[in-house]
């Protein structure tokens, strides 16, 4: 779960970089950058969830 969370973070970042490199139109760039940020937020959520479960097991 933690590994997938990290991979999502990095994937989101590459999506943002790809938007800058591949598109010239501002609208497309916005959409892809927003999508990349969304993927990153999912990654943060997954990492937090993984640690919450670990803490629960410890209790």
């Amino acid at each position: 779960m933690r590994l997938i969370g990290c991979l999502l973070l990095v994937s989101g970042f590459f999506l943002v970089l790809a938007a800058l490199v591949l598109f010239a139109a501002m609208g497309m760039r916005f959409v892809f950058v927003a999508a990349g940020m969304g993927v990153e937020v999912l990654g943060v959520g997954l990492l937090t969830r993984a640690y919450t479960l670990m803490a629960k097991e410890r209790r």
Binding site: L9, V10, V33, M37, Y51, M54, A55
Partner: protein, 429 residues
């Protein structure tokens, strides 16, 4: 650039760390107060030495030697290539005189120290001193300098305009470079160390562990204001060419955003809990300062007030969600206040900033790219480094230390020896 004005602003910057130190230890338990203050001093000291000796070479200066590569038709300038162990700051040039280089180095040294003190709030009452020292060293040697180079040292984020036709990423007061980097470090420390014993019951219901000295917390907020004004003003002058008149507006905007953040937190906590919560309101003040620092020299006073107010509300709800829903134990609210409000502040630059060049949409896009870089590249890097460090120097104190407190466990003496000691604090439960 006014040398004296910039010098005065740089010299104010350490007050930000002093204020945060008071806030951290006040929001922690009394049995860990001395440890919290000593950890802050050690983090500041190590960050200063390591940054000047190693990190400053990687932070670099705009227009000077840097490590870069070419990909997709663009130049990606990702790390400074200055001199390690500098005997001085060098002779300077017409574009970058020696005193400007010296002031930038001094400001970044204080900023690295400030970034290193932020995670102490997240790891309060359980993060071991040896681990604090190691993490501070790595932060000041590599993590902070790398992002500082991207933004303040002429790196790829600052050069978005030249490479991709959008305006460069803007962070005038270090909301991203200092606050979010420190806040993300705090997040990983919170994850790795886990909650304090007794914080969550078997069914996951959190117990309130109130700060032991709220007066110091509130005094820390006032002290931090002076430091933040210095940090915001000095970085605006050194990295964004702000003039004397703009510096006055930086101070006004900092005060307005902090005030709005605090008042928003007072109103929200009054509405939700019937009485204002002093510790969350203090966090609202700092959240306002953090969010306001990104656009400090580029927004109107009205916009600064809105930015601070939103940051205060955001920090209040994030603290509650982190504890009640996500079951994370962040005693000082560092993740919400520094990372959360900092990210909002960076986006707010694109929404409210007034710029001579570039479209508003372009600036917003550049700010979103910067936020994505923080979450997508800096967070995994910071997380990986902390996981690795935790293997060699365990972050969390052992079970006995949890109940004894960090003062007795790690320092051998408490901060308040004349306090009455409750027997249950020394009996493992």
């Amino acid at each position: 650039m006014s040398l004296v004005l910039c010098l005065v602003c740089v010299m104010l910057a350490p007050f930000a760390a002093a204020g945060l130190a008071l806030i951290h230890q006040g929001l922690g338990r009394s049995r860990s107060a001395a440890h919290a203050m000593l950890s802050t001093l050690c983090a500041l000291g190590i960050a200063a030495i390591v940054f000047v000796m190693v990190g400053s070479a990687w932070a670099g200066f705009a227009g000077e030697a840097a490590h870069s590569f070419k990909a997709a038709g663009a130049r990606w300038d990702w790390l400074g290539a200055g001199q390690f162990f500098p005997g001085g700051v060098g002779p300077g040039s017409a574009d970058l005189p020696e005193y400007t280089r010296a002031l930038a180095l001094c400001l970044e040294m204080f900023a690295a120290g400030l970034a290193a003190t932020i995670p102490l709030s997240g790891g309060a009452d359980r993060w071991r001193l040896a681990a604090v020292c190691c993490a501070s060293a790595v932060l000041a040697a590599f993590l902070f300098p790398m992002f500082a180079h991207w933004v303040w040292g002429g790196g790829w984020l600052a050069q978005l305009g030249a490479s991709f036709g959008v305006p460069g990423f803007v962070d005038a007061g270090g909301a991203g470079v200092v606050q979010v980097v420190g806040g993300l470090m705090a997040l990983t420390v919170v994850w790795i160390t886990g909650p304090r014993k007794g914080k969550f019951a078997e069914d996951g219901v959190p117990a309130a562990i109130p700060g032991h000295n709220i007066v110091q917390v509130l005094f820390g907020c006032m002290l931090a204001l002076a430091g933040w004004i210095g940090l915001d003003a000095a970085s605006s002058i050194l990295f964004y060419g702000a003039g004397a008149a703009q510096v006055v507006w930086v101070a006004i905007n900092a005060m307005l955003s902090a005030s709005a953040g605090c008042l928003a937190a007072v109103v929200v906590t009054r509405a939700r809990y019937r009485k204002p919560d002093a510790s969350i309101s203090a966090n609202g003040w700092i959240a306002g300062l953090v969010a306001g620092s990104a656009a400090c020299a580029m927004v109107s006073p009205e916009a600064a007030t809105v930015i601070g107010g939103v940051a205060g509300v955001l920090a209040t709800y994030m603290i509650e969600i982190a504890e009640l829903k996500l079951r994370t134990d962040d005693p000082g609210g560092a993740v919400s206040v520094h990372a959360g409000a900092g990210l909002w502040g960076l986006i707010a630059v694109g929404l409210f900033g007034r710029f001579a060049e570039g479209s508003q949409a372009g600036h917003l896009l550049a700010q979103m790219v910067g936020v994505a870089a923080l979450l997508g590249s800096m967070l995994p890097l910071i997380y990986g480094v902390n996981l690795l460090l935790n293997r060699f120097v365990p972050y969390r104190v052992d079970g006995d230390g949890d109940w004894q407190g960090m003062d007795i466990r790690e320092l051998g003496a408490g901060a308040y020896p004349e306090f009455v000691v409750h027997a249950d604090e020394f009996v493992p439960r």
